[in-house]
């Protein structure tokens, strides 16, 4: 169920300007005290979009999140297609 918390957090960063600013300024402060597992927190802090995808983050949450970090579409696709079938 934990992926629920991960998706909820990414959604808030995507749509809430204050949350977005806080995350971009200090990602650790957002992750600390959250309900994320260690693996989820590490993937989020590393902006490892492939790992986040494989953890189960919905594409329509993850792609907008990656755009916020300036990731191009080809880069994004390489990341989420890595590691074999989900």
């Amino acid at each position: 169920m934990s992926v629920y918390a991960l998706q909820k957090l990414i959604r808030e960063i995507n749509r809430n300007p204050d949350m977005r600013a806080r995350f971009l300024q200090s990602p650790q402060s957002i992750v600390t005290g959250s309900e994320l597992s260690a693996e989820e927190a590490a993937a989020l802090l590393a902006k490892d979009f492939g790992a986040l995808y494989r953890l189960g983050v919905h594409g329509l949450l993850l792609r907008p999140f990656s755009i916020l970090h300036g990731q191009s579409e080809p880069e994004y696709l390489v990341a989420i297609r890595a590691g074999g079938p989900v």
């Binding site: 909820k8 749509r15 594409g59 329509l60 949450l61």
Partner: protein, 285 residues
């Protein structure tokens, strides 16, 4: 009064956010089609616009998903995406019409949720940007869950549309309907970039012929096979349910690779005109 206008169009973010990534001739044909849809909308002198729409986690989340939600706010805003390259604006709602739709649904054994606060993402903002750029036409969004399975069936979407259409035919307002989303695409997923033009053209054919029966047979699996985003065609199917008897005109269909989406733009001849023509034919025979 009646349903005074109906159209359907795609809402791929690239239409506005990566406009120049598309081949110029494809972009030009689509933009021309959108402009024609706007011209016809303005000629229809509408009082309000219903948008059968998809959203992309802007308002709803896994804490509470509903199959259908009627946007019953006095005003909306959007887009929520800072990268869509359009200014954030306010859009008037039509609370009275929204309430009438909710009531009509309940009276007909359909129970959509309703929301007095809603923020639009590209799914609604792109159609409005092209159709009502002055953002002065009151809007009632009807959001269909195309995000988190299970999805409502095509038959159920036809039924929702039918209830809305029947209510509008007894309304004292001139109301337009827009369906938005699709066609084949797999946004943000591993097959992002995949476009199934054969699927898209088949669907457009059904919408052109007003083949409500065929539209009702699309399963979630059949839609999803054309990409996760093809499920948004449930919005088009709901529109078909509202119109019931109609003919469609494809103003443009473009499989735009850089926008990773098959994009359709259709205008619909309204049922009343079709009916009167058919009545004329039968009177002659």
């Amino acid at each position: 009064m009646t349903i005074a206008y109906a159209c359907a169009m795609g809402h791929a973010p690239g239409i506005l956010a990566w406009t120049d990534a598309a081949p110029a001739e494809q972009k030009d044909r689509l933009y021309a089609a959108f402009a024609e849809l706007r011209r016809r909308l303005e000629a229809a002198q509408l009082d309000a616009l219903i948008v059968f729409t998809a959203e992309h986690w802007a308002n709803f989340f896994l804490d509470h998903m509903s199959a259908f939600c009627i946007g019953a706010a006095g005003r909306f805003d959007g887009p929520i995406e800072p990268w869509l390259k359009v200014p954030k604006v306010e859009i008037p709602g039509d609370e009275q019409l929204a309430r009438a739709i909710v009531t009509a649904c309940y009276d007909n054994d359909l129970e959509p949720s309703f929301a007095q606060e809603m923020h639009f993402d590209h799914g609604t903002m792109i159609p409005l940007h092209f159709l009502t750029p002055d953002m002065n036409l009151p809007v009632v969004p009807i959001v269909i869950n195309t995000l988190a399975p299970p999805f409502p069936s095509a038959r159920r979407c036809l039924r929702l549309g039918r209830v809305v259409g029947d209510m509008l035919r007894h309304s004292n307002k001139r109301v337009g309907i827009v369906a938005t989303g699709g066609m084949s695409h797999d946004p943000g997923e591993r097959n992002h970039g995949y476009i199934d033009s054969t699927f898209d053209r088949q669907f457009l054919e059904h919408m052109t012929e007003g083949n409500v029966e065929a539209l009702g047979t699309y399963t979630s699996e059949a839609l999803s096979a054309a990409g996760a985003g093809a499920v948004e065609l449930l919005n088009w199917i709901a529109l078909a349910g509202a119109l019931q008897s109609f003919r469609g005109q494809v103003l443009s269909y473009e499989p735009v690779k850089p926008w990773a989406t098959g994009i359709g733009a259709m205008f619909f001849e309204l049922s009343e005109r079709v009916s009167s023509r058919e009545a004329g034919r039968s009177a002659q025979s």
